[in-house]
Point group: D5
Chain length 146, copies 10
Amino acid sequence: MSDKTIEGLTLLQKSCTTVYRDSPEDAILETFPNKYPHRNYVIEFDCPEFTSLCPITGQPDFAKIKITYIPDLKCVESKSLKIYLFSFRNCGMFHEEITNRILDDLIAACDPRWISVRGMMNPRGGIGIDVTAEYCRPGFEGPTSK
Amino acid sequence: MSDKTIEGLTLLQKSCTTVYRDSPEDAILETFPNKYPHRNYVIEFDCPEFTSLCPITGQPDFAKIKITYIPDLKCVESKSLKIYLFSFRNCGMFHEEITNRILDDLIAACDPRWISVRGMMNPRGGIGIDVTAEYCRPGFEGPTSK
Amino acid sequence: MSDKTIEGLTLLQKSCTTVYRDSPEDAILETFPNKYPHRNYVIEFDCPEFTSLCPITGQPDFAKIKITYIPDLKCVESKSLKIYLFSFRNCGMFHEEITNRILDDLIAACDPRWISVRGMMNPRGGIGIDVTAEYCRPGFEGPTSK
Amino acid sequence: MSDKTIEGLTLLQKSCTTVYRDSPEDAILETFPNKYPHRNYVIEFDCPEFTSLCPITGQPDFAKIKITYIPDLKCVESKSLKIYLFSFRNCGMFHEEITNRILDDLIAACDPRWISVRGMMNPRGGIGIDVTAEYCRPGFEGPTSK
Amino acid sequence: MSDKTIEGLTLLQKSCTTVYRDSPEDAILETFPNKYPHRNYVIEFDCPEFTSLCPITGQPDFAKIKITYIPDLKCVESKSLKIYLFSFRNCGMFHEEITNRILDDLIAACDPRWISVRGMMNPRGGIGIDVTAEYCRPGFEGPTSK
Amino acid sequence: MSDKTIEGLTLLQKSCTTVYRDSPEDAILETFPNKYPHRNYVIEFDCPEFTSLCPITGQPDFAKIKITYIPDLKCVESKSLKIYLFSFRNCGMFHEEITNRILDDLIAACDPRWISVRGMMNPRGGIGIDVTAEYCRPGFEGPTSK
Amino acid sequence: MSDKTIEGLTLLQKSCTTVYRDSPEDAILETFPNKYPHRNYVIEFDCPEFTSLCPITGQPDFAKIKITYIPDLKCVESKSLKIYLFSFRNCGMFHEEITNRILDDLIAACDPRWISVRGMMNPRGGIGIDVTAEYCRPGFEGPTSK
Amino acid sequence: MSDKTIEGLTLLQKSCTTVYRDSPEDAILETFPNKYPHRNYVIEFDCPEFTSLCPITGQPDFAKIKITYIPDLKCVESKSLKIYLFSFRNCGMFHEEITNRILDDLIAACDPRWISVRGMMNPRGGIGIDVTAEYCRPGFEGPTSK
Amino acid sequence: MSDKTIEGLTLLQKSCTTVYRDSPEDAILETFPNKYPHRNYVIEFDCPEFTSLCPITGQPDFAKIKITYIPDLKCVESKSLKIYLFSFRNCGMFHEEITNRILDDLIAACDPRWISVRGMMNPRGGIGIDVTAEYCRPGFEGPTSK
Amino acid sequence: MSDKTIEGLTLLQKSCTTVYRDSPEDAILETFPNKYPHRNYVIEFDCPEFTSLCPITGQPDFAKIKITYIPDLKCVESKSLKIYLFSFRNCGMFHEEITNRILDDLIAACDPRWISVRGMMNPRGGIGIDVTAEYCRPGFEGPTSK
Ligand SMILES: [Ca+2]
Ligand SMILES: [Ca+2]
Ligand SMILES: [Ca+2]
Ligand SMILES: [Ca+2]
Ligand SMILES: [Ca+2]
Ligand SMILES: [Ca+2]
Ligand SMILES: [Ca+2]
Ligand SMILES: [Ca+2]
Ligand SMILES: [Ca+2]
Ligand SMILES: [Ca+2]
Ligand SMILES: [Ca+2]
Ligand SMILES: [Ca+2]
Ligand SMILES: [Ca+2]
Ligand SMILES: [Ca+2]
Ligand SMILES: [Ca+2]
Ligand SMILES: [Ca+2]
């Protein structure tokens, strides 16, 4: 812990105990009711601060994650999403798997009509990897205008 | 009020009394007749200066709103739109709801053939939320070229 | 308040009661001890989400504020700075005054060796205003490299 | 007139008398024969220097106009287009109308197979207006690749 | 005047009678007292929407004007500055002269400690002209940090 | 010729005699066999350094040319393309004609399955012209993904 | 070899013997099992650091390669891809051929459902070449959203 | 000459006979009196459309020229500058020489207090050349703020 | 660990055992002899992938670190620098302290003539923090050209 | 060598035999007389296409090199510079050394009054290295304006 004296600080208290999980299994994606289920509207989360570890070398990897979905009855609550994404911090996982894993977890959490997850990883050895996985509920025609 | 001496100012008078409303219920969206109803042309409002409050923590949120629509008999008058959007300033509302609320209010105000509202919120906790809601009048085939 | 059902949300609780002040007089700028007083290092806060009201017309103004200072014995704590800047939200003040007011309040709060405050206001009537105010403690030669 | 002595100037003579019209009614859009009528090719004019007046307040408005069309037998001559667009300088007209007016005038002038006019107006009161109007000659399938 | 029916418009009334002048001689630059005369702070106006006429050919010219000054006892009021700059709209003046003219008029209006005016004109014949004129009151050392 | 002494220069010899033609008629577009005729792949030449003369005023015009095509049995050799494009340097030709002329010459040279030529001319009198002409061999369905 | 004394360096050891091949024939593209074969997800490799030689003049050429594919049972391992792309360093090959060669080698290595390879070569003689080759397995409908 | 029928064109007449010179020796740089000789103000010409020939290979070169100067009694007239710069079109000259040649010709034409000419040539063989030459009249301290 | 089958992978072996430390105390900054001690040259490391934890809330912070120094007898080896910077990953430290801590550790490691460390932290609560700390060895005049 | 049939190609002949050297020792930097020795003008070479090998791992490195110098009696000929820089292609050298090596070789070749070489290497392991080395002939005051 930092040895900064924090006596004088009344605003920046520890009391806002946000618990950060150490793996996606432990992080719960929370939702709230969709007030506009009669409409196919698109929600997109831009998450430029994603980091995980290379499963082989242990070197940190950095990526931008973009989640785009059409909710059905449930919307994803963004603070729980933040904690869920931070939970990959010290996990070793290949990037193709991370992108598909996030897609599966979100489908399980909010059962959307359509969802796309894109993971854009910073270059390693001069090569960047950019993975996009989609899911469309059977019978749903997907987003009209992309 | 600022204590700036304004005696010398003849141009910047209070007389231009624009009344700013404190919630969308009180703000009236005004319209004028569409002179070209024989044509499906697209009007887009770019509104980069939108701010509201987080309904849970009360922290100010900042967003860009883009409204794109094909008018039928009525066009939205932009000054009234400005006042309507400013009326969210001190309202606590989730971003998914703000975007859909603006869509509903505009449909009620000008009964467009097609309309899309997109709300791009600045990141909170490193995550940006970007919501797009559309409405297309039954029977209208929507904008040809997007 | 939004009528979003929040029963299911365990993470996004009201408990993180950050109190937002309604004017700079009520907002307290907090500080913590500078661990490196033997060094003239530069700290810069980039605050792109600033909004206040025009004192004459009441129309919302939007600006970016940049605060750059060399601390002496005390450093400014950023969460209290956030609350202090948000406190201008519903205040009517000319932009030249806002910039100088922030400079004076920060000097009072942390007694820095050198400090510069820059306020870049979004255009109104096609004209943007960009104000920079500096203070250098007598005897201090100011930042070597800008 | 400027009092700059122009005796020495042999190149910049008044003799290039381009007459600037003070309203679109007076400006004639000239054309020349399309040498490639057997082909549906696309011509786009980018006109970033457009200005007119707000019909209510008289305040100058500034916009970018983009004209894209597929010529039939006649092509629009760009110098006459320049003079035609400059003729809006001191006219009071709402932006939705300006865009449709330019579309109608160009249809009358060169009877194109397909034409689109887009007017992107600089923000006023923080809101930018961006209008796109299209015309496609009955029976013509429109531009294949946009 | 536009033939747009404006009965329904209560907000966009003519009552905000801002009078636009037709030449800089007629436009009055207004000021308000500088509340911080004990400090050499810098105010910069970014005016990207400037237009005038070429004195020889009458063709419209477009430019960005940037005004940077250190006020003494008086600050320039921005709405009067807007009207003053718009007054060049139908004036024929060479760009070198416009920049120096604005500098002289501002010196006369607010007697600043230091002031710089920069005029960046859009290209004509492929050549852009960018003029910067400065004035520093005798004895004043000018802005420390540019 | 420049009076630069070139005795010491062994590398930059005249021996690389590339002959530059003074009009498109004299410049020969060369080709080489397409090794992958079983595949509809797309080749795009970006040629940002194009210049010709206005046929009326003689003033130099500058443009970017983009050539995109799907080869059949023959591919265009880029050095001969360079010489062909440079051959327009001192030719007077309207921009609409230049774009179609290049399209016709390339069709004659390499008989492609599909080809598009786009000419983006720098603004003159504030207006830029951007012409796109396409040709698709009868029976060929054109590029799938644009 | 550099004469930099490397005694003190314990981390940057030669032991990480990555063998760099001197031609694509010798470089082996390795793969790992696709854990999500039930889904058509898109993987894109951005490889901005590609260099080879002009087959005629021997001058180095520089390009950006972008590989986009939908895996079937096998995914391409990126470190082997890096070594494979570096193996072109001292090979003389025309750019059209390089792009198609990479496509063929990747098809042989991982038998994808769909794959596109794009090679964007830096300009030579002012002209840039940008080649895109695609392959879609018979019966597979290709990527829905590009 | 182009075979475009120009009967219908009344505006784009040949009458504006601007004579383009074929070498700098023949092009005359014209000036007009500086109305503000009591002030050291800076004029900058941005000339992004410059082209000449390589003296050895004859290949066209393309460059951006930037001329920045403080006038004394005479200002450079921009149309004559345009014709002077276009006169290099078919001249073979090394880039270092072009930049110094323009500097010398401008000194001869308007005898400025200070002048800088910068020539930024597009890359050839992957290498761009960017030459800056300055002249300061003996006794003049040069531009204060660069 | 990921369950990706890695039998087939011969290139991506664990054998390149780079050991990543869990705090700056354990990470050793290695150096190699400066071959050009007779010259004051500047080395700059751009490290855009830095992450640590907020000491109060535990939330991950993301920053860009830029290290600029003039070596004396020793140069910093970049792989050891990478491991040292990654060692902050799970440390709780205020940003002002991180920047000064890196400066002190580098001074201890390579005893440079001059060094500057800049830490630019991504916004939290809409506010970004950007800290720059410098050290100049007594008697050394610092970098001439910045 | 590529198996592309080149019979038809008359322009792209091997005859332009530029010999590419395999190490800086073998590449000769050629010069031509400076025609303006009476003036301290600045020449800058932008060389964005530089590549060499890591001396330890053999992995290719990519960098941008910028050479800025004030010539005395001799100017560097750019084609010989191109060949000299390409000669590093297959050399193993640390980046700090490359930058200083280029500086020394250029000093030896053209004995400039002042010269600066900057090497900006693409990131490896997320870290970019950017080295700037300068030399100023004793007694020469260096470039006035940077
Ligand atoms: Ca990508
Ligand atoms: Ca109310
Ligand atoms: Ca987005
Ligand atoms: Ca209060
Ligand atoms: Ca500014
Ligand atoms: Ca828009
Ligand atoms: Ca008047
Ligand atoms: Ca400029
Ligand atoms: Ca001929
Ligand atoms: Ca265009
Ligand atoms: Ca391209
Ligand atoms: Ca440069
Ligand atoms: Ca430890
Ligand atoms: Ca900053
Ligand atoms: Ca050798
Ligand atoms: Ca850098």
